[in-house]
Symmetry: C2
Subunit: 253 residues, 2 copies
Amino acid sequence: MKTSNSSRRDFISKVAIGSIGALSIPNILLSAEAEKKPKRISINTGDTILFQGDSITDAGRSRTDMGSNTQKGFGGGYAFLAAAELLNAYPEKKLKIYNRGVSGNKVHQLAERWEIDALNLKPTIISILIGVNDYWHLVKNGYKGTLEIYRNDYRALLQRTKEKLPDVKFIIGEPFAIMGSAVDKSWFPPFGEYQNASQEIAKEFNAVFIPYQKIFDKALEIAPGSYWAPDGVHPTMAGAKLMADAWLEAVKR
Amino acid sequence: MKTSNSSRRDFISKVAIGSIGALSIPNILLSAEAEKKPKRISINTGDTILFQGDSITDAGRSRTDMGSNTQKGFGGGYAFLAAAELLNAYPEKKLKIYNRGVSGNKVHQLAERWEIDALNLKPTIISILIGVNDYWHLVKNGYKGTLEIYRNDYRALLQRTKEKLPDVKFIIGEPFAIMGSAVDKSWFPPFGEYQNASQEIAKEFNAVFIPYQKIFDKALEIAPGSYWAPDGVHPTMAGAKLMADAWLEAVKR
């Protein structure tokens, strides 16, 4: 058993490092945290996977072509990159994958549209990335929310989901920000509290947690923030791929 | 040298098979044709890479946001997937990548917009996928072109490019079609002649040739055509990833 695990890890490591031969931040992270054994979930036959969140998930998706597995319905972000890879790799699993991210959303806005944009789709796996606007809009446009509201609304949203879909599995992405045209030093530590809240909630709901902040911080050792997310919030193509790779690592091979 | 080559191949093979653990058509292909040593090109620092072609390359890209490396400017096809991976993997190479595919284009229409949409961008690498409409539109909307026109126009286009950009490197994608709502048996063998022409031209211009037909044919052993390209021409997300992986294999690691 040990041999097979370690050879699998070796294999995964080669794959991740190799992707096309250069860096692989998520894998560096994985190695560094090997003892912590990052949690993963399995993709099963017939799974319905839902990507939910704000503009980073939205990434310009169509509002008219919203069926599962449709290019236009995915936009041009990490959700598209991750879904394309899953669909390519697992034809036999007959996955249905949806993107319902909406630009500008905070957690309470997810809640408002949750019936239609989540529960009615009967997902077996829900991936959520939410929180940057819950903090950003305090600064940007006078939103009156608090950390407590974020935390409570987030918890209530997952609780409500569990009641309706008891077997659903959650993937919770850490909201992230790097120095950029929209992000300055004043974000830290206050924004860090929102990040901590998302991690606590992930733990409470036995979710897989994707530490995007750590991933972007690592990426900054290789190229400047303008390469990954010029405004500090919205990833470039390179940044979106960084996220997709991390997301895919949350899915058990 | 031999050892290093074979260990590299071993490495590449692991990477490709592993991507996320399931199939890897391009790699199957690569193994099967190992003796033929598929040609590859290097990506160098400062390269400007241009994706050109028809709707398969276009994939819904923006016509207003057309700078290099922009998500919106790439649409949701193989060009986006391949570019995101390159940009993610090679921050230090400072690549500029453009997509200028246009839906419905035949080779003579590439020629009409070549000055603005290719030469002026001063690409060092041009990837072209063109030909399905040169055949399809004969059947579909009474286009009067011939195989000779396709071949001659294509050759003239590359010749003209070489004169203006003597050091440019070409990647030529094989036009492909599988049985689907827009493709029936009557396509073969006549469409095969267009495919052969693209391959001959690739050879003449010392281009890397990507055998997309073979790649889709292999994919059909794993899932039906509706999974990869329902109309037989336009790939799904899974099909686009298939193409992107094959494209990336054309790029030396």
